[in-house]
Amino acid sequence: MSCWLAVCDTTPRDAVAAATFTADDDAGGVLAAWDGHSAPVPGAVKVDPRCIDVNGEAAWVSLVLAAPGTWLLFDDIVVSHAIRAVLAGPPVDVVSTFVIGDDRFVGALTAVHGDDRTRLGHDPFAAIFRARLIRVGAGLLGRTPTPVGPMTQRYGAANPWPWDRFPDPFTPDGVHPARHGIGDAPLC
């Protein structure tokens, strides 16, 4: 089971969470999240499920997305370098790379809650693909734990970084411990 995120024109009825967004440089829209084994809509990307929280506050987001049909191997050195820069850089409230298939990097989401968008001035992923600064409404983005480090690798090739553990064979649902017991939010 994966968590998926996509930019949509309207709120999808089957999404587990969604929020509208506005952008300075472009038309706004809706960011929506789904659970599932396969992409729910064209253009959907896999995201670290810890990002998603229906009780999350509004956030400023640096949304880095490759143009359709464009991708890099996740093991590309520019991706590794950006991840190192995230680990060494100033903290943010939410971060996840975007993955499609088993090994393709197609962007990242970096977010901060509150009004201080200057905290997003350091987004290493913005050097890889086009970045948009957007304001996402409440009901979608929670907080991801600060990555422990120094790991830069994915736990399972098809999973986005910083998701940080292999499936626990002793946990039937395979849910990350950090996703248990956080409020009553339905999550990816």
Binding site: L87, P145, V148, G149, P150, M151, R165, D168, P177, A178
Partner: protein
């Protein structure tokens, strides 16, 4: 009482390390068990940013960091520095792992790791533990004297032993 080498009493190899809860360099409270996830952990107690011996040892760990970042292994460094001091020290070093702050000196006493010969800072005795993912102590090193600290080669050997024992596919799966 956990049996084992009596160097550190309950912190001897074979014992389970207490599940510390401390603020990280960002200011978030973190538990050691969650930081470990499912990976081996280097748990490193150091005096503070001001100690030249710590600065020298961190330079060694920084060289190991470039291997650990691809080896499903985690580092955690703990001191009595404030989160702000830890964050600044970490950034200056170029360390890309988690630093924890025991500013209130709760755990330094509970663990029995207070360096009693420094009544000015009341810091940790420099100590390194290599932990299994469930926080069982695999190896411990008393770094009060600098040469007591583990070399990177000793750490590699410890991580290899743990990884071999916890990864069911250590032996390459065959169809």
């Amino acid at each position: 009482m956990c049996s084992g080498s009596d160097t550190w009493g309950d912190l001897a190899p074979g014992c389970h390390f207490p599940d510390l809860r401390l603020k990280d360099h960002v200011g978030n409270e973190r538990s050691l068990s969650d930081l470990a996830g499912g990976d081996p952990v280097l748990l490193h107690f150091y005096r503070g940013w001001w100690c030249p011996k710590e600065q020298a040892y961190f330079r060694k760990l920084l060289r190991l960091q470039d291997e650990a970042e691809v080896a499903y292994t985690r580092f955690v460094s703990v001191s009595v520095d404030t989160p702000q001091e830890s964050a600044a020290f970490r950034a200056g070093l170029g360390a890309r792992w988690t630093f924890l702050s025991d500013q209130g000196r709760r755990w330094v006493h509970e663990l029995g790791l207070l360096e009693t010969t420094d009544s000015s800072h009341n810091p940790y005795v420099p100590t390194v533990f290599v932990l299994r993912p469930d926080l069982q102590i695999h190896a411990s090193f008393n770094g009060y004297w600098f040469w007591g600290r583990p070399t990177n080669e000793e750490l590699r050997q410890a991580f290899r032993e743990i990884t071999r024992s916890i990864r069911p596919d250590w032996h390459v799966p065959r169809k």
